[in-house]
């Protein structure tokens, strides 16, 4: 589901002052992050233009759509301009004149918009992309937030229990259940829960019951909570398994260390050993995975959102792909890229906080 979490851990042995090294490393990391964002911005533009198809026609298969209307739409969205100097279009590749005014190319307009902090107007809904993403982002954050908190808490708990009681019946059950949960197809689990939930009278679609906006705030929140139950449950089951497995294996490794043996020899009880000695070290791999997940789940909830008609970012991306809505796609991808890069950056920092021996390279 996700790329394997690997990170080079560097034990510092050099003579430079630790603070200086740390600052320099952080600055270096930050510079890389910025560079990556710039790269994504460039890639974002060309990626969608090498896809086949004409956004001014996308989704319109109607005998009433006349060529003149398509041309007027192309002009409106600037699609009648060359993509960039020397290229009329990228798919099909059509070479054009190189001496066109670069300020009139689609690429320049895209960059100009971005520098102004604008993401453009959606071709499909004619609304500013920033408005669409803004609305949708909060819905997704709400869903992911609840799902992540639940799956982290439950996953860690189960992972610790399984590791502490390794090779017991509890361990086998936990590992078995986690493996199953981790490998369940998201949409399939979603549909199952949808059928089950609707038989209990739970809402199966949307974020809120239409017409609730005139009700008192508490009733509104309760209503949203009810709508969140099924998607959050789906999310939690899917992600909990992964966290349990990672927590368990990393804790098992730590528990076999000599210093844990020493702690046991000192007569510390289970809680003391786990809390004061084992957990902090065992958390490292989990932090990495959580950080990476946080970035990826913004896009990864597409399936959950479409099963439960949750008006989130994933849904917006899906629709934009279908409609060839470049501005929305560009905006959404930029948002996701920035989230992933930021999450990774934060994971690096957290790493050295958790384990002072580790510095970031």
């Amino acid at each position: 589901m996700h790329p394997p979490a690997s990170r080079r851990v560097h034990v510092y042995l050099r003579s430079e002052s630790p603070e200086l090294m740390r600052t320099r490393a952080i600055l270096q990391k930050a510079a890389w992050a910025v560079f990556t964002v710039v790269f994504v911005i460039l890639l974002n533009f060309f990626l969608f233009r090498v896809l086949p198809g004409d956004p001014a026609r996308a989704g319109m298969r109607d005998p009433r759509l006349r060529k003149e209307a398509v041309e007027a739409l192309q002009a409106r969205f600037g699609l009648d301009q060359p993509v960039i100097n020397c290229f009329e279009s990228l798919n099909p590749v059509k070479l054009g004149r190189c001496d066109v005014n670069p300020f009139e190319t689609q690429f320049f307009r895209y960059m100009q918009n971005l520098l102004r902090g604008e993401l453009g107007i959606s071709y499909h809904t004619n609304r500013p992309v920033i408005d669409i993403l803004g609305e949708r982002l909060w819905n997704t954050v709400l869903l992911i937030g609840a799902g992540q908190v639940l799956s982290i808490v439950l996953g860690m708990l189960l992972g610790v229990l399984a590791a502490w009681r390794a090779r017991s019946a509890l361990d086998f059950t936990a590992v078995g259940a986690s493996l199953v949960a981790w490998s369940l197809p998201t949409f399939w689990l979603g549909i199952l829960l949808l059928f089950w939930g609707s038989s209990l009278g739970l809402p199966v679609a949307g974020k809120a019951t239409p017409g609730m906006s005139s009700m008192p705030l508490l009733a509104q929140w309760t209503d949203i909570g009810r709508h969140m139950l099924l998607p959050t449950l789906t999310y939690t089951i899917i992600y909990m398994g992964e966290y349990t497995l990672i927590m368990r294996s990393s804790l098992l490794e730590v528990l076999s260390e000599d210093y844990i043996l020493t702690a046991r020899a000192k007569g510390l009880n289970a809680v003391q050993i786990l809390r004061d000695h084992a957990m902090k070290n065992a958390m490292l791999p989990l932090v990495t995975v959580i950080a990476i997940n946080l970035g990826f789940t913004v896009a990864g909830v597409i399936q959950i959102e479409s099963v439960f008609s949750w008006p989130g970012l994933g849904n917006a991306i899906y629709e934009a792909v279908v409609r060839r809505d470049y501005p929305v796609l560009q905006g959404a991808f930029l948002l996701i890229a920035v989230t992933v890069i930021l999450a990774n950056f934060l994971a690096d920092l957290t790493y050295s906080l958790l384990d002072p021996r580790v510095t970031v390279e």
């Binding site: 004409d54 989704g59 109607d62 005998p63 007027a72 099909p92 199966v204 974020k207 909570g225 099963v307």
Partner: protein, 548 residues
Amino acid sequence: MKFMYSRIVLLLLIGSVLLSACGGGGANQPAVVRIGWAGSPDTLNPGNAILSTSYTIYELVYDSMYELQLDGSYALSLADTASVSEDGTVWTFKIRDGLKWHDGQPLTAEDIAWTYNLYKDTPEYPYLNGYYTTYFDTITSTEANEVVLTLTEAIPNIESQLVFLYILPKHIWEGVDKLEYENLDMIGSGPFKLAEYAQNEFVRLTANKEHFLTPPKVDEVIYQTFENQDALVQAIRSGQVDMITEMPGTAMESLKNEENVKLVTGAPYSPGVTDIIFNQIAPENCPTAEGGLCTGHPALQDRTVRLAMAHATDKQQLIDVILLGLGTPGLTLIPDGLGSWFNNTLKDYEFNPDEANRLLDEAGYLDADGDGTRDMPDGSRPLTFRLNWPSDSIDAPRMAELLGEMWLKIGISLEPGAVDPDALTAQCCPAFDFDIMLWGWASDPDPSALLYVYTSDAIPYGSSETGYSNPAYDEMYANQQVELNAEARRKIVWDMQKLVHDDVVYIIPYYAGAAQAYRTDRFSGWITDQVKLELGDVSSLVVIEPVK
């Protein structure tokens, strides 16, 4: 501390479930109709709209000069009378007195003329400009509350040209950017007012009890979006919605036996057509200047081959397997849902693989190398056709499989493949870089739009998908465009259908039906006995009443 928070979250979640169980209905609650559908409007600005879901909302919130009835006919709406000049180019509509916008301002001929001019002068409006105002010359309003519409030429179908031109309030629209305006207040004059709109979530409408023609009996109508059709079916079962506008075919059987749910089927409101497209463009017609590649298999230019394939196609099986019986066998691009425009006297080619084999044998398409696939009479290449369909189609893969089996029995083999819809458009027209495609069309209430698809004019234009070119047909098309006598026009339109059916331009497997369902314990009076079925149509929504 972290653990505390999660406990609080859990408690809140559990609490909310318990609380919600306590909600009950009072005695004098407003009558709210909840409709579940799979879509959402793309925009509330009628000029920019593309999706039919948007039009569904416009039909409720706006009025237009004519209303399209469920039997396919038109009724004057905003005007008391309509009259036309001798030469058929000047239409005068006497607008009703005392009409009001939802914000209380008067609606007059001036608003109507202004709106028509807006549509006419905005080329970026894909349909309302591009198609419906093609023949508009000038539009003016008079002191006597009349709209005078002058056309560039006399046309036979003024009603269908005006039916989707929703009238907008001049006092609001003249001050806004007609392309960027999102129209979130959506002041109209129709039987329902927009109360609340959340894109991709719901549209909430309240009744306009002062509507001049059809004041609704219910108080509110809510269209709620379900991105997932299984959820839609579950929602009507559990009573979360009172009506659903669509469902997966597999749900029909189970809903039939559901208590308090009535399943209804019929021809859809916007009758569509599914087509099997043969690339039959003749080399001399290839639109090379527009990017024409014309790589189609030469055998498909031969009517005999197409006719044999038609004889080998078991349409009833396609309907039974793909639509689970919900559909009728197709003939031409003009679907039966278009009422009197549909030529119901045409006799389809009999399903008869033996006859198909005989035709191919006789024409010299023999299996020379004995590999099970017939070859061209000169032996140059086998009758192996590329078969493509848009990858977002749910039905096409099954159809491709069935067609592959059916046609293999007459020695024709296929290379099937799903293609991204946009890539398919690029392959299709005017490139003609394919052999056979499975696709479909939406239709206008007037047949002209779909009849155009068969014309030679449409080849370089990108609307023709077969490359069919027949001067006799082109002439008939031009004639029906200017024939003012409705009966004479109908006759030409029927002859055109016969011509393209005889030429086997397409195989039309079926006209799909619509299936909808409503809860019998919530509202009564849904209209289900018309030519077309649309429970979400204004005609139903203004007459239904809560079940006592």
